[in-house]
Amino acid sequence: MSHPVISLDHVTRVYGEGDSAVHALRGVNLTVGAGELVAIMGTSGSGKSTMLNILGCLDVPTGGHYVLDGVAVETMSKPQLADLRNAKLGFVFQGFNLLARTSAVENVELPLLYRRGNPVKNTRERAVAALERVGLGKRLDHHPSMLSGGQQQRVAIARALVTEPTVLLADEPTGNLDSRTSIEVMALFQALNDQGITVILVTHEHDVAQYARRVIEMRDGHILRDHPVTDRHIAADDLVALDATTPMEEAA
């Protein structure tokens, strides 16, 4: 493992106060190195969503320390957190979360427009390049409503990639997709990870987690198990196998 990009040290997160307080995270220690592909698993209420919100700098810990790529997150103000999300993180959501009535390339361009300090000049070219990277170079001007679920998720991945983030965070990225499209999206994540991008994804599906290199299982605000994936699947191979079994259906 190379140098850590994420380091959580006794991180807690408490919602509310007194008797009604909810302890979503009860002291989590975690280190993620550059180039890892981590799947966070757990049932609802296990604290995995809270974990992702904190990792994504959308929320700050109640206690403990979180260092993202050398930056101590818990000391940041709200505008600083926004800048941090823009510079170091890319988000992919279950529901795609693209702007409606806005073309694919404009959706992808958006994070670059919010870049501060050192404004990006060729935003459009970079957005086009990001879409080409996810295989949607021919659908630049399509609006989300004209794209399939898989294509929309690729646009979302391109939007997350365009800023060249340190970490790509994905919240149930295959939750709204059929099984074949899910494998396609996972193949994309694996390909990006092979190019050196750190990916952390939250899922409750074991099938999806098997494409990761490392699995973290959570329960009741603790990390229950943290282990490497032993029988790792390669999504590209699975797609080939799938085409072999049902060729006619896919051709149609």
Binding site: L58, K78, A82, N97, R101, L113, Y114
Partner: protein, 405 residues
């Protein structure tokens, strides 16, 4: 994010919902339009009053016979008439700051001629009077100094008198009688309309003062002397000069009380103008109520829009928009919507004002400042009523916003 990008995004989201935007803007259009129409009407009235006052004559100075002290008891103004043609001659000879000076003999008499008879005011004046009071003719000519010197029985008819005696036919050259004396009509005066106080300036006939003295009333005293200063700046020194000349002519010693009064029209003009400017402000204030109502409409729609776009706000925040970015986005949307409404309102206001002018016959003057008024007011409304919704959007929690269905 550059200003251009923010502006482009605002335009885009405004035009996503065309019908709603149009209806919301309508409030601003009506508000700005109403303010402009009202200001145009008020300004028109003001300009009309001003032109009426200057129609009395430019830089007019009025000299009337003043009070006389009889054994210490003041007898009040015009208690003893001491203005004579000699005074006029003295002023004419010695004054340096005057454009003209004329005696005015005022009497009323029955006029018979043309199709009937009419009772009107008769003014006996010299030729300077026409320049002082800005009188011109629509037909025929003004009388000349020769007419005055030879006491010719020529008369100029005011528009009202001409209309009553001769209807539509041209009276020039016709004979009429003032009292018992036959006069020849030399010309018809251009109409001046009403004075600020409502009396008809055209209900008058004008004759040479020499003729009036010998043929009409026989008095050698004058009702008043009218003069005009050579420029607005010399209005005050010209009055001082007249006083000095008059005191010398009347033999009043130093420290003695003037037996005449010298006045100008500034006070009257000021009063009339300030009244009409108060009226203009009042009209504009009433109209701006509709602008406020329009602003509330903007606020309402912006609040709806913030709620509808909660998820979009969450997405923008997740990918790195600061609260201030979101705030600016909504504020610019509100301002752009108001400015578009303001520009449309400007067109509606200018068009509406000229329509009102044509339908009612009122004089309308749309001020050039209406452009700045429209832009300034609508931008102010956009900022004021867009602020709260924009701040609401900016203060959303990204996690909650992303979960919003």
């Amino acid at each position: 994010m550059t200003g251009q990008t923010v502006f482009r995004m605002a335009l885009k989201s405004i035009f996503k919902n065309k019908m709603r935007t149009a209806l919301t803007m309508l409030g601003i259009v009506i508000g700005v339009g109403a303010v402009i129409v009202m200001v145009a009407i008020g300004n028109g009235a003001q300009a009309q009053i001003k032109s009426q006052i200057s129609g009395l004559g430019t830089n007019l100075i009025v000299i009337t016979a003043g009070s006389v002290n009889t054994g210490g008891a003041s007898q009040g103004a015009q208690s003893f008439n001491r203005l004579t043609v000699d005074d006029v001659d003295a002023i004419k000879r010695e004054a340096t700051l005057l454009g003209g000076v004329s005696p005015v003999i005022v009497t009323r008499t029955q006029i018979v001629g043309g199709s009937g008879n009419w009772r009107a005011e008769v003014n006996g004046v010299s030729t300077d009077f026409f320049a002082i009071r800005d009188w011109t003719t629509t037909s025929g000519d003004l009388f000349t100094e020769e007419d005055v010197r030879t006491k010719r029985t020529v008369v100029l008819l005011g528009a009202t008198v001409a209309k009553n005696l001769f209807a539509d036919s041209d009276p020039v050259g016709r004979e009429i009688r003032l009292g018992k004396t036959p006069f020849t009509v030399a010309g018809v005066l251009a109409p001046k309309g009403q004075t600020a106080s409502g009396s008809d300036q055209d209900d008058v006939v004008i004759v040479p003062y020499t003729t009036a003295q010998t043929r009409l009333n026989g008095f050698s005293f004058l009702g008043q002397i009218l003069a005009s200063a050579s420029s607005p700046a010399s209005l005050a020194p010209a009055q001082e000069e007249i006083k000095v000349i008059m005191r010398a002519a009347h033999g009043i010693p130093n420290g003695g009380t003037d037996d005449f009064t010298v006045r100008d029209q500034t006070a009257i003009a000021k009063a009339a103008t300030s009244t009409s400017s108060i009226m203009t402000s009042l009209l504009a204030a009433i109209a701006s109520v509709s602008l406020i109502v329009g602003g509330i409409g903007i606020m309402n729609i912006m609040l709806v829009s913030v709620t509808e776009r909660t998820r979009e706000i969450g997405i923008r925040m997740a990918i790195g928009a600061r609260g201030s970015d979101v705030m600016l986005q909504f504020l610019v949307e509100s301002i752009v919507m108001c400015l578009l409404g303001g520009l449309l309102g400007l067109a509606v206001g200018v068009g509406g004002a000229s329509l009102v002018g044509r339908l009612t016959g009122w004089s309308i003057a749309t001020p050039a400042s209406a452009v700045f008024l429209a832009i300034g007011f609508s931008a102010a409304v956009g900022i004021f009523f867009g602020f709260y919704p924009a701040r609401k959007a900016a203060s959303l929690d990204p996690i909650q916003a992303l979960r919003f269905e």
